[in-house]
């Protein structure tokens, strides 16, 4: 009985939706009401409780155990330490157009969210456009320097510098003179990791053999979230004689760790300290991780917003600024730490310049 009535109700609503579609098809004759969600009203409302923060993730969103989660961690820290009035997190859908990204940012800006942070280079063009429409709102974008404007802060990372250090670590730890790199998706950003890793390893052992494998090619971005593919790729490298494998493959990294464990090899984590964040049974194979502190960047930006000192333009999180680094959890690289720190100092002083592009 209840189910029956409920079904009718739901059906009526869906039917309404379809009719609306039909109306759209026939051209709109009725005057369109401009009921934009909280246009001027909420943004003009006094912000006695601190800022309303809007966050736009790339595909995967919060819970990807990687890049997006790092940003989420920064937001969570800001929530507890800074008095934020409200936060809103939106994520991208797979296969969406540029227009959908713009709309996401616009909805946030229009809904009174200020600042708005876009996570990932995919937002570059859309952020530039929307930022121009909302000059009073502060925007930040991670991993992109191409979107510029007076109200855009670009949060950039020197992934190649951190990768250089773990590349050196891999070469120092490899007994078979053979290491591997597993990239998630073959895009310029991940090639930066590869370039640094390659240079660091060759610096220590110029003759070392380095296997490189990308899990997928664009537009297939599943390589960032497919542990099975990561496992197969790493297994192949271990079988071919590699004994240390570095992954820059987001959620696929879990598979790389499993392969390392099965082959009694070592793995190098990425983005966060994966000797802590990986599944408990494989944490032992993570000898070090290339840490990319997206959380710090997000938190710093929010902090500067609350203290009214937002800087437009590039903020580079490199080795010098502590934005990238290698981790020492587990003590597996304690014996080579002095050598790594020496290299680190040379990069910071500018004595070593790390390439950010693959040859």
């Amino acid at each position: 009985m209840l189910r029956n009535r409920f079904g009718r109700l739901a059906a009526a609503v869906v039917a309404g939706g379809m009719l609306m579609g039909a109306a759209a098809c026939g051209g709109s004759e009725e005057p369109t009401t401009s009921a934009k969600p909280g246009a001027g009203a909420s943004s003009a409302a006094p912000q006695e409780k601190g800022p309303k923060v809007g966050l736009a993730y790339d595909i995967g969103g919060r819970g990807d155990q990687s890049f997006n989660d790092a940003a989420a961690a920064g937001l969570d820290k800001a929530k507890t330490e800074l008095s934020l009035a409200d936060t809103k997190e939106l994520e991208a859908g797979s296969g969406e157009t540029e227009a959908a990204k713009e709309e996401r940012l616009r909805l946030l800006a229009q809904g009174g969210y200020n600042p708005v942070i876009a996570i990932g280079f995919a937002y570059s063009a859309s952020l530039k456009k929307v930022a121009a429409e909302f000059p009073e709102v502060k925007f930040a974008i991670v991993d992109d320097a191409a979107a510029t404007g007076p109200n855009i802060s670009n949060l950039l990372f020197a992934e190649h510098e951190g990768s250089y250090l773990v590349g050196a670590a891999a070469a120092l730890k490899s007994k078979k003179e053979h290491i591997g790199f597993v990239g998630g998706v073959q895009v310029p950003l991940i090639q930066k990791f590869q370039a640094g890793f390659y240079a660091g390893a060759k610096k220590i052992k110029p003759d070392i053999q380095i296997d490189v494998k990308y899990l997928t090619q664009p537009p297939d971005f599943t390589g960032f979230n497919d542990p099975a593919k990561g496992k197969t790729a790493a297994q192949g490298m271990f079988d071919a004689g590699a004994d240390v494998v570095y992954h820059a493959a987001g959620g696929s990294g879990g598979g790389v760790f499993e392969a390392a464990k099965a082959a009694k090899g070592l793995a190098i984590g990425v983005d966060s300290d994966q000797a802590k964040t990986a599944a408990a049974d494989v944490q032992g194979v993570v000898m070090t991780s290339m840490i990319k502190k997206v959380d710090v960047a997000v938190f710093d930006f929010l902090k500067s917003f609350t203290s009214n000192s937002v800087k437009a333009g590039n903020t580079v999180y490199d080795l010098k600024a502590g934005g990238v680094d290698y981790s020492t959890t587990g003590g597996q690289i304690d014996d080579i730490k002095t050598q790594l720190d020496e290299l680190k100092q040379k990069i910071i002083s500018g004595e070593i310049s790390v390439p950010d592009k693959t040859a």
Binding site: M20, C25, S28, E103, A145, Q217
Partner: protein, 390 residues
């Protein structure tokens, strides 16, 4: 006799015939099927929403409220034009029992090469656009022709070959989208794409919907024209008749003098040519460049929409609009703290509901027809109007 001819195509039809809309429903039943589908889909969605803790009526209210505003409406129309072209490409194959699963690879490769060519040349505006469209059509058709030739010459199932060609198109596309080949780098960006198209290749938008500075992609007209063409070619030409006949029954088509191999070749190439256009509304109307952000997956969306629209050009248009409406509502759902995945569940529910509802109604029609015939046979002279006796 009239009762007999009306009944025979229905009773002799296969599930595939009914699924792809080759068998028509009569009278009120034609209306009953979509209504039943809506009821099913609404029910499933409502249950899922309840289980996830979101109020169903409010959720749909949020979607509709947002969806009818000028800006989201424009966004939906823009999305729908690409969906429509992709679904048409799929439908062309469907009408002949050809499953072109490779629309995805065809449109991506076509868009990439068309974008690269368009960025490299400069021509007066209409010629520039025409040249890009031509390249897209040729590439889409060319890529599909591989599967067509394989089928005609070697008997390779087009389902298998087109799926494999999708993977090859991805690899080829990523090889081409490199700064040594088709792509240019933008300073400071981690994105990579083809040289942006010059102003002469940018198709101006149409201010179709008042109340927003956003414009509807000019190539929505192309989508409409292709829809009309699809209808005319399939229903009003000798070629269309042959195509449909081959789809219905290959032996019968052969017996009536249709060269089936030739039909397979031409149909597959036509399907690929239309697939090549699927990326054009986005490329020439919005993005002006094929980059890492170019929307993937249009080809698979097209399969769902073609099924939804039952290969009918008007039905496909409704399907494309519905899909685009659902897609655009993903953002507003998140603003209201409702998981955007609900949109994907709705899409799945709708496709399943449409298939199930139509099949149920068809079966009802068959059963009703059989009952009528047996009644006529037993009742004999009492049913004068039907004239059942041969």
């Amino acid at each position: 006799m009239s009762g007999g001819t009306a009944r025979s195509p229905e009773a002799g039809s296969t599930f595939m015939d009914r699924l792809t809309g080759r068998v028509r429903l009569g009278g009120l039943l034609a209306l009953a099927a979509p209504v039943l589908a809506i009821v099913f889909a609404g029910l499933i969605t409502a249950v899922v929403l309840l289980v996830t803790g979101a109020p169903p009526v409010e959720t749909l209210g949020v979607m509709v409220d947002y969806g009818v505003q000028p800006r989201p409406l424009t966004l939906a129309l823009n999305l729908a034009s690409g969906y429509y072209l992709s679904a048409l490409a799929v439908a062309i194959g469907f009408r002949m029992n050809l499953f072109n699963i490779g629309v995805d690879g065809q449109y991506r490769l076509a868009a990439l090469i068309a974008a690269a060519v368009g960025g490299a040349i400069t021509l007066p505006a209409p010629l520039h656009v025409a040249a890009i469209l031509l390249v897209a059509v040729l590439v889409g058709a060319g890529w599909a022709s591989i599967a067509a030739v394989l089928k005609v010459r070697r008997g390779v199932s087009e389902v298998i070959s087109t799926i494999m060609l999708n993977a090859i198109a991805t690899a080829l596309g990523s090889w081409l989208l490199n700064k040594d080949r088709f792509a240019v780098e933008v300073a400071g960006s981690n994105n990579i794409g083809t040289q942006p198209l010059g102003p002469s290749a940018q198709v101006p938008g149409i201010p179709l919907i008042p109340g927003t500075p956003l414009k509807v992609d000019g190539l929505i007209i192309l989508a409409a024209v292709m829809g009309l063409l699809y209808y005319v070619v399939l229903n009003r030409t000798r070629f269309g008749f042959d195509l449909r006949a081959t789809g219905r029954s290959e032996p019968a088509a052969v017996a009536s003098g249709v060269n089936v191999k030739r039909m397979v070749l031409i149909t597959m190439i036509m399907s690929g040519a239309v697939a090549g256009l699927a990326g054009m509304p986005n490329l020439l109307g919005e993005s002006y460049s094929y980059s890492l952000n170019f929307p993937p997956g249009l080809g698979f969306t097209g399969i769902a929409i073609a099924l939804l629209g039952r290969n009918n050009p008007v039905g496909i248009a409704f399907g494309a609009l519905l899909w685009a409406f659902l897609d655009t509502s993903s953002n507003i759902l998140q603003i209201h703290d409702i998981s955007p995945e609900i949109v994907e569940i709705m899409k799945g529910a709708i496709v399943l509901s449409v298939i199930v509802a139509y099949e149920l109604v068809h079966r009802y029609q068959i059963a009703a027809g059989q009952r009528r015939v047996s009644r006529e046979l037993s009742g004999g002279p009492t049913v004068q109007a039907e004239g059942a006796s041969a």
